[in-house]
């Protein structure tokens, strides 16, 4: 039964990593309403990750728990898209930091939730009944995430010169990372064959239509892409994931089995 497990971990790791990233805005949002919105989106994502990790622990049996999966695996064992672990700013050398950029946050949430409404929609018919039940809940949440991100994409893209330039820079920076959506990892291939997963290739035209429609309304252009395709979902990550996990996992690792 390794097939659904590897695929479920990919979905769970996506949700927990983006949930942790977006939670960085908690208390630092550009306006109070967005601070609340991002915290709520993170709660949904972490909740989805918990349900998925619980399902994996159930399939693994023994002493597997959701906490062990989230807190006691290292970066190379995570199966999330590289897109989701990137910091909230444009490309810099690995050790450099910059202020968080809300355009980067919104564009990433838009690109990911545009994919996930389609993925969750398909997964409602998964042969894994546990996953199908999680999908039927998650699609309702992802629809609100997409609605929120799309609204801001249009407001900032079709806003001032400054907001337009920043959101276009974020699109140019992040769009190449979405190529990873369309390569099929061994775990995905096996899960599709077992009717556990949806074939992402079949979703691509709808995703393209969704993205192009929003970019056009936001007066943004879509960059052409030819280049390196990231492979986070097979465990080959950027330098950023380790720092994210260090922050997320340090408390659980300092106090194993701690309860509070």
């Amino acid at each position: 039964m390794s097939t659904p497990i590897d695929y479920l971990l990919h979905l769970a790791d996506n949700a927990v990593v983006l949930g942790q990233r977006n939670a960085e805005w908690c208390g630092h949002g550009p306006i109070l309403e967005e601070d609340l919105a991002l915290a709520n989106v993170s709660l949904d994502l972490i909740g989805q990750a918990r349900l998925l990790y619980q399902r994996v622990a159930e399939l693994q049996g023994g002493d597997a728990t959701e906490d062990k999966l989230a807190y006691f695996r290292d970066a190379h064992e995570f199966r999330n898209y590289t897109l989701l672990e990137l910091p909230h700013h444009g490309p810099l050398v690995g050790y450099a930091a910059a202020d968080r950029d809300y355009a980067t946050t919104i564009v990433r949430n838009f690109l990911y939730s545009a994919l996930m409404v389609l993925v969750w929609d398909g997964l409602q018919n998964s042969s894994d009944a546990g996953l199908a039940a999680i999908a039927a809940k998650s699609i309702k949440e992802a629809s609100y995430h997409l609605h929120h991100a799309r609204d801001w994409l249009v407001r900032m893209g079709d806003g001032t010169d400054e907001s337009h330039a920043r959101v276009q820079a974020a699109v140019n920076h992040l769009m190449p990372y979405t190529e990873e959506f369309w390569t099929i990892s061994p775990a995905e291939g096996a899960a599709v064959a077992a009717h556990v997963a949806v074939d992402v290739w079949a979703l691509r035209p709808a995703w393209d239509a969704l993205v192009n429609d929003a970019l056009a309304e936001a007066t943004l252009s879509r960059p052409n892409f030819h280049g390196y395709v990231t492979e986070g979902k097979v465990g080959l990550h950027s330098e950023h994931l380790g720092f994210l996990l260090a922050e997320m996992q340090s408390l659980a690792r300092a106090h194993p089995d701690g309860r509070w």
Binding site: E33, E34, L36, A37, N40, V41, S42, L43, D44, L45, I46, G47, Q48, R50, L51, A114, V117, L118, D121, A129, G130, A132, A133, I134, A136, K137, S138, K140, E141, S143, Y144, L146, H147, H148, R150, D151, L203, A206, A209, L210, D213, E217
Partner: protein, 166 residues
Amino acid sequence: MSTATERVWAALEALTDPEIPVVTLRELGILREVNDAPDGLEVVITPTYSGCPAMGQIEDDVRATLAELGVAARVVTRLSPPWTTDWMSDAAKAKLHAYGIAPPHTRPPADVSVMRFIKRPVADVVSCPHCGSSHTVVTSQFGSTACKALYKCLDCQEPFDYFKPY
């Protein structure tokens, strides 16, 4: 219904939502079933939003009530069918309205085409729970909790929460 399940229902009936204390868990559709299973009583609850922090409190409240009653019953969390605001009773919606929260609209029938995601989403027209005006505007799609959106009434100028359809 056995006497035991009736007693459990009667006790759990009093439990309210930790965030919205005017509505009960049963009215919200969170408390689903009390079953007299061969291996003992079981209480079935269904989670709302995946990350709702109130769910832990709700489960604790159910367990505490069962313990107080001296009833040994399992609490089972069931995901499917997924919780929906359409399960909320009319009485619950009226209470939300009186509490100052605009109750959720009924979900539109499911559109089977994925193209529904491409259309620009249109915010629901929500009546102000204070003055009844439908001249309102959405301020933010996420309010104090994930299940609510922030709206503002353009007539009475009051801000209010809208319980979003789920």
